[in-house]
């Protein structure tokens, strides 16, 4: 019986391999409407392939992706709020443990890096981290959307769009600046403004990291001859790892700079000066 099963498996496997190879050889690549150069250019610039947002305006596909991701996350959060959280127990189950670890990770990151003021920071990096991680993974699903030219296209990661990355980078900087002003007034603001390159570095790091994944994946998908097996590895590498790494990097940077900006150290200096 075992030998029979093995033989059957081998036959099916070899047939499938032969069929796919035949497919690769026999099927002519579709006459693409857009060259790889154009496609790569558009992935960066988003000048074409706009999507109508409820007929109000034409936007980049990343905006629609952003709203879709937000909708999915909020729906999930609402379901959890209604059905799961009221049934929380002191000794947590697996799902409760996952939720607690999720919240606890960002809360702990905020508390560790910013011991003085961390309530708002915890909530902010929780949202930003969840958004970066889940919206990057969202790209893997390849949900389709029709652009204004009537062509179907896969929804990209929201932060692979420069506008999305700038929004998050600049917002993180504003959060740090706000924390500095609230905690230390003008001196705090001056300390944060000193790092004026921070919003740019944050935005472009995010954009560059996610865009590189998108470009390589697009490149692999573009050529049918390398669109077997390889996209899985590339997709997992560039999407999965980037989502985790970029989440950690942005949250860590924001919390570290926020902690530095909100640190109170005026009185010490005065005392030291008086002693000297």
């Amino acid at each position: 019986m075992e030998k029979k099963k093995k033989r059957r498996f081998l036959v099916i496997w070899l047939l499938l391999l032969a069929a796919t190879l035949a497919g690769v050889i026999l099927i002519k690549p579709p006459e693409s409407e857009e060259s790889v150069k154009f496609m790569m250019y558009d992935a960066v610039m988003h000048e074409y392939g706009k999507i109508s947002l409820f007929g109000l305006m034409e936007v980049n596909p990343a905006v629609v992706s952003a709203f879709t991701v937000t909708g999915i996350i909020l729906l999930f959060a609402a379901i959890v709020r209604i059905f799961v959280i009221p049934r929380f127990k002191d000794v947590p189950g697996k799902f409760q443990l996952l939720l607690e670890a999720w919240v606890g990770f960002f809360d702990g990151l905020a508390k560790t890096n910013s011991p003085h003021r961390n309530k708002f920071l915890g909530a902010y990096i929780f949202t930003a981290g969840s958004y970066i991680c889940l919206s990057t993974l969202f790209e893997l699903f390849g949900l389709q959307v029709v652009n204004t030219e009537g062509i179907s296209m896969a929804m990209p990661a929201p932060l692979a769009d420069i506008n999305g990355a700038i929004c998050l980078g600049a917002l993180s900087y504003l959060v740090i600046l706000g924390g500095g002003i609230i905690a230390n007034g003008g001196r705090g603001a001056a300390g944060v403004l000193k790092d004026f390159s921070l919003p740019i570095s944050m935005s472009f790091r995010l954009f560059g990291a996610l865009l590189s994944g998108l470009l390589v994946t697009e490149l692999v998908y573009y050529y049918i001859t390398i669109s077997f097996v390889l996209p899985v590895i590339v997709g997992v590498l560039f999407t999965g790892i980037h989502s985790l790494v970029q989440t950690y990097v942005l949250c860590m940077l924001t919390s570290v700079f926020y902690g530095e900006a909100t640190e109170v150290h005026e009185k010490k200096k005065k005392d030291e000066k008086a002693a000297a």
Partner: protein
């Protein structure tokens, strides 16, 4: 103006709007309730730990109190024991001296009565000896008289009586 990289302020604001929507929603629906629950549980555990520590310290205090009481009681018991032993010794000594006096008295009485008895016995023994001596003498006398009389009778009757008696 042509902005490099096709940066679009309107779309940045759309992303910002989207993010703020997500921030508010996630904060209210997930972050705050989960964190509140965790904080509440933490404070509950802290309270339990504090209570147990308080109970532990109370128990330690009580233990120390009881140990002090036990030590005090031991001291009291030792003192009491010493007192009782002393009292018992005194009583025993008293009883012993009384008994000794009693014994001396008994011995003295015994000695006196013994002496009296001795004298009485010696006196009565003298009387007895005298009477015995008298009896013995009488007996000797009677025996000698009887044998003399028998000899006389034998002599008279030619030995008939002594032959019959023999």
């Amino acid at each position: 103006m042509n902005v490099p990289l096709n940066i679009n302020l309107q779309q940045i604001l759309l992303h910002l709007f989207n993010f703020l929507l997500l921030f508010g929603g996630l904060y209210l629906l997930l972050y705050k309730p989960v964190k509140d629950f965790m904080d509440k549980r933490q404070s509950k555990i802290r309270q339990i730990i504090e209570e147990s520590e308080k109970m532990h310290s109370e128990a330690e205090e009580k233990k120390a109190e009881y140990e002090a009481k036990i030590a005090e009681f031991d001291k009291y018991a030792a003192e009491k024991e010493k007192e009782v032993l002393k009292e018992a010794d005194e009583k025993a000594e008293k009883k012993l001296s009384l008994a000794r006096a009693e014994a001396e008295k008994i011995v003295e009485e015994a000695r006196v009565s013994g002496r009296k008895e001795h004298d009485r016995i010696v006196e009565s023994a003298g009387e007895d000896i005298a009477s015995l001596a008298a009896e013995a003498a009488e007996k000797i006398l009677s025996e000698s008289m009887d044998s003399t009389y028998a000899a006389f009778l034998d002599a008279v009757s030619g030995g008939e009586i002594s032959g019959k008696q023999g």
